[in-house]
Symmetry: C2
Subunit: 318 residues, 2 copies
């Protein structure tokens, strides 16, 4: 798309980004993005991805940095049961090199994959590469973290621990397996799953960004309940067993502690069972697994071999 | 307000921020912010404020860092003629100290001043303090940078150069005057003015964030016109003359080059004259001044003493 801006190095870079995005962008160049009125609720979320904190540049191609940051933000819309409309990209970088265009190319692919467009953004100088993605979607029936009741089943989509398996390999100076690297570099926001679950009696849902062990505490707090999870029931990513051995950890523990899988964590009524899970799998193209139960008794209990485990949730300042 | 989150240092900090914000925040703790449907258009914009790039911590109190970053974002909504609804704050910081709460206190004051609420955000570790504010508003008649026609008057609200006067003083190792410091630390988004102008036949409008000399080029590009501005006509901030002398610059040049005044730059039909400007002043509580004309001839001409001047626009990577 063409962007009508005056002269300047910064604006040349914005023009180059807009040219690369093509029809994956819309309405760039004004002070605001404009969204026409529509039915339901607008849902908005923001997420930041910082070099050396969320990723290292040696691990990822620039396109993957952009894809991953955008998908992490879209994952919040999936949790809210919203269909994405647009994304605003606030990019901070020490320079204005070609990498910015490649990063935004990856953002553009993620945005197209989620049925949205890049609607605007901001380009700024800063000591490290950082991308704050703000995403906007629309939900006929918005979902949140409250609404789950004692007795509800706790379910997760897809599998857990893949991104963590890649991190463990990189941190040990090894090259992650192809499937682990893919889980880290190319996560997919569970948009269709989020909408499906909202229309099939989900009581509460959120995405797993900080790791199941941490995010379970948020779900229980949101619902005003406790939670019991049996770790043997976790759907474990295929890359986990090898990496868990390297880390000297049980695979279940790695899957429960690992963050940034961007799967959905859902409270479903007790009547939701195997037939419904089979239907979910057929219609959304990924599994959903029951891992535990919301409880009247407060607190989160993670059981392995029948024993309670104390696991770490991800904490940015921990 | 109360935020239902699980345990952890990061979440303790979010709880402390939410407690300080009180009723200036709403709906924190979920993955998404939710906005009910309403008439008109949703307008969204994002803006980043980075330590050592946009401000130094020795210049500003934490509350002022927050206020200024939020107002810079709201200023884009003013340009779009939108009334603010909410703000999402993505905060990056090397630590999780009390300063984050004070910064968000300033954000909260700016948000309340603009009739909005803090609807969500993100907290992340990073090498320097950085705040990306995404703002959402609603406009019955959205405004943008296109629509101005040759012959339209070019007008600016308020006065120009105050923030620049403070910067010049700080960079020369001096203490800025009280009014210069106020212009830099406590800018006010021209929300009422933006709505007023949109309902009084404005053809195009934007906010002056990069300085008039640079932003005029964007307005002309957006309108597909040229622009001629007579610098003697600029409304100059009272702090400019003293600072301009220090910088060895004409006050008009400092006012034209100075960024981050967050006044509105507007293309109004030729029939908009002094009586309309008087009405604007009476109803919006600030002056509006005609400084030039959109032209058929392309390019931007800035005249001082009848001579064309070449001035610098602000460029983050220049």
């Amino acid at each position: 798309m063409q962007v009508l801006l005056g002269p300047g190095t910064e604006f040349d870079r914005i023009r180059a980004i807009a040219a690369r995005l093509g029809d994956r962008a819309s309405g760039l160049g004004d002070d605001c993005a404009t969204i026409p009125d529509g039915p339901g609720f607008l849902m908005v979320s923001t997420d930041t991805s910082v070099e050396e904190v969320h990723f290292k540049r040696t691990w990822l191609e620039p396109e993957e940095i952009g894809w991953r940051a955008a998908m992490a933000a879209f994952s919040d819309l999936a949790a809210g049961a919203a269909r994405p409309i647009g994304l605003l990209a606030a990019l901070t970088s020490p320079d204005h090199g070609e990498d910015l265009v490649r990063i935004m190319d990856g953002v553009g692919d993620a945005v197209r994959g989620c049925g949205a467009v890049v609607m605007g953004g901001n380009l700024s100088r800063g000591p490290v590469l950082s991308l704050t993605s703000t995403v906007i979607g629309r939900a006929p029936r918005p979902m949140g973290r409250s609404g789950g009741m004692p007795g509800d089943g706790i379910w997760v989509t897809g599998s857990l621990g893949g991104a963590r398996a890649a991190l463990v390999a990189w941190n040990a100076g090894r090259i992650p397996s192809r499937s682990a690297r893919e889980a880290f570099a190319r996560p997919v926001a569970r948009i269709e799953a989020g909408v499906w679950l909202a229309t099939h009696r989900a009581h509460a849902q959120m995405d797993i960004s900080d790791g199941l062990a941490g995010d379970l505490g948020h779900l229980a707090a949101g619902c005003g309940t406790g939670a019991t999870v049996v770790l043997e029931n976790l759907p474990i990513h295929t890359a986990v067993p090898g990496s868990a051995e390297l880390a000297g950890q049980a695979p279940e523990v790695m899957a429960a502690e690992g963050g940034e899988d961007f799967e959905l964590l859902v409270a479903l009524p007790p009547t939701f069972g195997s037939p419904e899970a089979d239907r979910f799998r057929a219609e959304c193209g990924l599994p959903i697994t029951r891992i535990g139960t919301l409880t009247t008794e407060p607190g989160v209990r993670l059981l392995l071999d029948g024993h309670p485990m104390t696991l770490r949730g991800h904490d940015h300042f921990g």
